[in-house]
């Protein structure tokens, strides 16, 4: 336990050191703006990463389609809003649609791949992502659109930067989901069964874990998170299905920072990636490498945290 805490402290120290190096010599006010801006974006990466890890922990499936189903959900919510439906109803329908898409895959396709290698399962979800994106792009052709929430108008000042209530909802939701899932997995019978299923599917089936029921719940939770994340991405990033679909990529980097296992580290990883990306903008030399920052950070985190202990894609190895 002591060693684990020490590792976490070193991890946090490393993060702070990198941020300090990037911010060195810049006026504190500017640094404050970029750090807060980075937290705002990082919380979105973290939220996406948490959705991935929740499902991975319960089913062993790394779902690349989370972004695509979220994009479908927010596009549907936007469409219903254009048709005059009340806001809360459109958000609920959007999240429900994403949940149903996720659940549909989980109940129809995923069981057929249950005994395949985790990489095969992950690649299959990539196919589902492309199909869902194609369907979304077919229904809603390329046009200028905007999805907004009433909370966009309210804001507070943090270190000179206005933070809207929507962004605060994202950060709060990320923390609440981490806590909620932790409590769910560690204190409920279904949570216990999910952990058992993720650790060893064969053995779980033998001892009577109701696989279908547990996986249905896991895909539903994952779909709900993907739907909510889609709404947030549509509002805070932009309402473009392709952009939202591929937000899953930095989210995967955040998930890898938590070794696809530790939700707290996923949250920290996502926030750290956001802050580093933002601070890289301050350097005329390094700002060109911003797009690769999530993966460099994920690779460094993986090398540091794994150190030969565990394989990411083969939890049973």
């Amino acid at each position: 336990m002591k060693q684990k805490i020490l590792h976490l402290l070193l991890y946090a120290l490393g993060m702070l050191l990198i941020c300090a190096l990037l911010a060195w010599g810049k006026p504190p006010k500017i640094i404050g703006l970029f750090v807060v801006s980075g937290f705002a974006v990082g919380s979105l990466y973290a939220l996406g990463g948490i959705g991935l890890v929740v499902l991975y922990r319960a089913t062993g499936v790394l779902n690349f389609a989370n972004g695509a189903v979220g994009a479908f959900g927010v596009m549907l919510a936007w469409q219903l809003g254009q048709m005059g439906w009340p806001g809360p109803l459109t958000w609920a329908v959007g999240i429900l649609a994403a949940t149903l898409l996720s659940l549909g895959y989980g109940l129809v396709i995923a069981p057929k791949l249950a005994w395949r290698d985790p990489v095969v399962k992950a690649v299959a979800t990539l196919g589902f992502a492309i199909v869902t994106l194609g369907l979304t792009a077919f229904i809603w052709d390329d046009d200028v659109r905007r999805f907004s929430l009433p909370t966009d108008k309210q804001a507070v000042m943090v270190l000179g930067l206005r933070i809207t209530v929507t962004r605060m909802i994202v950060i709060s939701a990320a923390i609440a989901i981490v806590l909620g899932i932790w409590l769910f997995l560690s204190h409920t019978r279904i949570g216990l069964q999910m952990r058992a299923l993720a650790n060893n599917r064969d053995l779980s089936a033998l001892i009577g874990v109701p696989i279908l029921k547990v996986e249905t719940i896991a895909w539903t939770i994952s779909g709900l998170i993907a739907g909510f994340t889609g709404l947030m991405f549509g509002d805070l990033i932009r309402l473009e299905p392709t952009v939202i679909t591929f937000m899953v990529i930095p989210s995967i980097a955040a998930a890898i920072c938590g070794r696809l296992n530790n939700l707290g580290l996923v949250l920290a990883g996502g926030l750290f990636i956001g802050v580093v990306e933002s601070l890289l903008t301050l350097s005329p030399l390094l700002k060109q490498v911003r797009p690769i920052a999530p993966f460099v950070i994920a690779a460094i985190a993986l090398i540091w945290m794994q150190r030969g202990q565990k394989l990411v894609f083969s939890r049973d190895a």
Binding site: S37, G38, A40, R238, T242, E277, S278, R290
Partner: protein, 419 residues
């Protein structure tokens, strides 16, 4: 004799459709305006657009196709129809080269018309020169499109449009330090925002560039970078979707009144006012490369009528559509003026296009010309509009852009006696 009611309804419907189509076509003007369909061997013309994520640049080829359909229904060119072959480069350089080879070498098209892409022109400019074929483009965005011997476009592209916006910011909004927000795509963002910087320097003012990765989700850092540059005016030179995301970020920070806001043409799109909060009303000034979309000039009205009669209802009616129509019209006018036996000869068609001098239209402010030159940008004067709740309002009529970049073009225009 027993008459089938359904048949009668069918005949009535057919007669009504034909009459409706004739009525719809009654106020269009295309080619020879004979009202008779062209016949005989088709004249092959090519077109390439980019349509894939993250953007659709097919509006110019859609409009060119509509105009060619109209010409084919009105006597064609010397009685012969145009066969317009359109390909999609999907923003893929390899595919762009392949489809150009297919059109130019396999199909033997006599010219390219209405091309619109970020990619195609940069890749294919040498091929067009090698094959002595002219591309009368409609939706150019990269430097090679304006700096090649065999490409000429009716639109202005991001460089001229951004300079136009910067001029307005300086002259009308009192800007002294402009941050130009562009795309980090070679030959696009650095080229156009770099020209804004040079324009500002030429006026003893300050300018800087902030280049965004087109796929980057975070536009906030770009906004903060612009703020950190010390600018008092922000010029958005981005595709509409990204520009709206950028303006939303600025609205989140309540920067609407802190800076003056201008944009190059992509924000001049009918969908934009609905996609932006009313917060931006009267705050965002947008340069338009061609006349306003509801312009009352005869050629603009003809463009709208041609689109209504011959294009799909879902085809965009935007600036690229205007420029695609105009390229197609100028091309048809050029071929009409050629001897009938020369219109299949690519070299003769290329020579005729290069000979274009002083074509006029109410869609553009100045004269359209081509000439034998290494650079072509006949359209370098435009208008400014301001964003309103439900649309745009013109705030400055035709004005010519000033920049060291245009010096060579102005010399060419003088030599052609167009000035």
């Amino acid at each position: 004799m027993k008459i089938n009611n359904n048949k009668i309804y069918g005949y009535l419907l057919a007669i009504g459709t034909v009459m409706g189509a004739n009525l719809a076509q009654a106020d269009v003007s295309c080619g020879q305006n004979t009202g008779k369909a062209a016949s005989g061997d088709a004249i092959k013309v090519g077109g390439i657009h980019g349509n894939a994520a993250p953007g659709d640049f097919s509006a110019a080829t859609d409009a060119a196709a509509a105009y060619f359909n109209c010409v084919n229904a009105n006597g064609g060119i010397h009685g012969r129809p145009i066969e317009y072959l359109v390909e999609n480069d999907q923003w893929n350089p390899e595919l762009a080269a392949q489809v150009a080879s297919k059109l130019v070498e396999d199909e033997g098209v006599v010219a390219m018309v209405g091309n619109g892409s970020f990619v195609e022109m940069s890749v294919n400019a040498p091929q067009y020169a090698r094959n002595n074929i002219m591309s009368m483009a409609g939706a150019c965005a990269a430097s090679e499109c304006f700096e090649s011997s065999n490409i000429v476009s009716t639109n202005q592209g991001p460089l001229a449009s951004s300079i136009g916006a910067a001029m307005y910011a300086v002259e009308e909004l009192g800007a002294t330090n402009i941050a130009c927000i562009g795309l980090a795509i070679p030959s696009v963002g650095n080229w156009s925002c770099g020209a804004v910087e040079r324009y500002m320097t030429s006026k003893n003012l300050q300018g800087s560039s902030v280049l965004l990765n087109p796929t980057a989700p975070d536009v906030n850092s770009g906004l903060l970078e612009a703020v950190a540059s010390g600018a008092d005016s922000i010029l958005i030179n981005l595709p509409a979707g990204l520009a709206i995301a950028f303006l939303n970020s600025a609205q989140e920070q309540d920067f609407g009144d802190v800076y003056s806001w201008t944009s190059s043409t992509p924000l001049y799109d009918a969908s934009v006012p609905g996609a932006l909060d009313e917060y931006w009303t009267d705050k965002v000034f947008v340069n338009a490369e061609l006349t306003t979309l509801d312009g009352q000039g005869p050629d603009n009205q003809n463009w709208l009528a041609v689109m209504d009669a011959f294009a799909n209802p879902e085809d965009p009616r935007d600036t690229f559509s205007q420029s695609g129509y105009l390229s197609a019209r100028f091309f048809v006018d050029t071929l009409q003026a050629m001897p009938a036996d020369k219109i299949d000869d690519r070299n003769a068609v290329t020579a005729a296009i290069k000979d274009i001098k002083g074509y006029r239209s109410d869609l553009i402010c100045g004269a359209y010309y081509v000439g034998e030159a290494k650079r072509h940008m006949p359209n370098h004067a435009g208008i400014m509009v301001v964003l309103k709740d439900d649309g745009f309002e013109k705030v400055r009529d035709c004005y010519e852009y000033e920049s060291p970049y245009f010096a060579e073009l102005i010399e060419t225009e003088k030599s052609l006696k167009l000035r």
